[in-house]
């Protein structure tokens, strides 16, 4: 477990649960490449410029729309490392490839039963 107390979903054993903290490496626009997050909003796009085609961003939002949002309580149902993971989020069972599962950071054990909404909100 890292110093922040977060652990990648892909490292959790079947039956272990926790609260999704963040989806790593992909969350912010990493404008300056330092990984430091926002240096400030940069709206420098020109007409028709597709500035959101980066895969990381798409992935985070795909996961969000399928129910994997920060604050959601997740439980690992199956972990076929180094293969994919099956994770339960509420009534949904999602199959995540290894690469994805290792980017989903979870605070193990914690969480408010029955509330998928953001904890801090």
């Amino acid at each position: 477990m890292s110093a922040s107390g977060l652990i990648p979903l892909g490292f959790m054993r079947p039956g272990e649960s926790g609260v999704l903290a963040e989806i790593r490496g992909l969350r912010h626009h990493d404008h300056d490449g330092t990984g430091a997050g926002h240096a400030g909003p940069k709206i420098t796009y020109k007409r028709g410029h597709l500035h959101h085609s980066d895969r990381g961003h798409r992935l985070v939002h795909r996961l969000n729309h399928m129910g994997l949002i920060p604050g959601a309580r997740v439980m690992v149902m199956r972990n076929n490392a180094p293969g994919p993971v099956i994770v339960a989020v509420k009534d949904t069972r999602l199959c995540l490839g290894r690469g994805v599962a290792n980017k989903v950071m979870v605070r193990p054990g914690a969480g408010v039963e029955g509330s998928p909404a953001r904890e801090e909100s």
Partner: protein
Amino acid sequence: MADKPVRATVALAGNPNAGKTTVFNNLTGGRQHVGNWPGVTVEKKEGTSKYEGYVFTVVDLPGTYSLTAYSLEEVIVRDFIASEKPDVVVDVVDASNIERNLYLTTQLMELGVPIVVALNMMDVAEGREVQIDLELLSELLGLPVVPMVGLRNRGTDELKRVIVSAIRGEAHFRDVHVNYGRETEEEIAKLEQAIQAEERVSREFMGRYSSRWLAVKLLEEDERVEKDILSNCEPGCELFRQLSDSRRHLLSIFGDDIETVVVDMRYGFVSGVVREAVKRKRDEALTTSDRIDNVLTNRILGFPFFAFFMWLMFFLTFFLGKFPMHWIDRLMRGLANLINSNLASPEWLRSLLVDGVVGGVGAVLVFLPQIFIIFICISILEDTGYMARAAFIMDRIMHWLGLHGKSFIPMVMGFGCNVPAVMATRTLESDKDRMITILVNPLMSCTARLPVYALFTAAFFAANQGTVTFSLYLLGVILAVAMAKLFRKFLFPGESEPFVMELPPYRWPTLKGTLVHMWDRGSLFLRKAGTVILAGSVVIWLLSYLPPGVKYGSASSAAGMIGRALEPLVKPLGFEWRAVVALLFGFVAKEIVVSTYGALLGVGADRTAISAGLQQIFTPLTAYCFMAFTLLYTPCLATVAVIRKETGSWKWAAFTIAYSLALAWLVAFIIYRVGLLFGLGR
């Protein structure tokens, strides 16, 4: 009431696997295919439904989790709703997974069209002791809610009644929208004003979208809305400036990307609704599906189970198929005898009927039972939800190929028919993954190749027919794997799209559903027998019969001349001229290879006679090479057409023809030459 029916458009939207197609079939009496894996409906389908003087055009839209611009399906759904302005959108919500499903509802609400919530799968929710207060749910969403059990056709009439009352403006609607919080709402209001003030933008978009929807989408950095709107105003315009200001302001407050804030707020709204209107007696218990998955997706047991199901599929196909095959075979021979004994002249007509029609079509029809059985099996794999598990189990292996588990579903479907399999690749998010999956799909041995294997293995490998046939399926799979790897490396380099897929709960397949599905796909084969194969058989008969006076099907017939002219091309593979003719016509549909031999050997549909004839011109080694060639070469016309449609270019269709032809020749050549080295020539 007016006599003339009132026409209206009803669109069905909802999450993948929420049962939209079942509701569609219930409404329209249609028989669209329903499966139990997310993404069965890959394009929109239309049907009609009537109720109390109304005629609805019902449109089944692809399932989506959201309405962003990230995937083609989502864009199709929102464009359809915005441009076609359906009178009512029925949002099919899976009651057993209500929270995730209502997330889409919040976005549909923003589009500003009348929505009726069809709360489907109420039985599953009740089975899990989830109680939903329908009235309160309707009140909180501000939308009419109709409970349904789509699979048992319960609630359909009530849904029609509510649709009609929504069209008449009598249904209960209340203007409810997600509140994104004070700061965001202020920025939304400013942006709405800026949008309305921008003349070109409001003229172009306001008829279709509400200004609120546009404002939220701009804040969410929706690629398409942004591109469309900003290309309609000057770079320094007020809207552009306002957008920059609003985003900067919200980022400074939330320190997070705004789309995430918007997503959170929507979930927050849904969570509030669910907390009020849904009561669970037991919380997050292991469902039956989870228990089954503990075994079927188990690290150690998963793969053997999968292999067993595949083996079972082929065992049932070949073992159970044998019996009705004999009956049809006997029937065809009886038919030929009947014509022979009752129709002595004219000779050409007798020959056309016996050698051409009965010989050509009959030789193929014999395989109808096997084809139907394989389609039943694939249908069961899909309807139970096992197909999605197969994708999970195969992910590791597919990963090694540079693809992921989801690409595996179209591959298995290819064992049935490559045409729906190629279409099923639409569920893959990445274009590169999709192209590779499409290009290798024809190498998966479809049912049309079965007649060829059955005929040749019976003639040359009677003792171990099963093993030889299995080896051909395996050859197809191995080459598909190898080609996928090559294509990934040289044509579509890069990593595969991250693997994310919903696992639907297991369901019992319904007898009706399975039979309908089997019939829909199997009947295509029957139709093919009555059209393409019949026409092909008649042409081959004609070529074998002409020029007049020539011995039927001999080397001096027209067919013989064509075959002999091209014979040098296949000589290195150990084939003679008849093979050229058979393969040439097999391009139309691979079953025709069998019909052609029936015709060219002059024995019609009599399988024993064809076998005897084949033994004169093939050795076991060349027979095996010929089967391998038939498996691998140029996909049939229908598959080529669907590849052209799905890739959007003739280039890739032509590429598939060329590479598979080259591959077939090379593989047959290697097998033949290696076989000769080992003294297998005789």
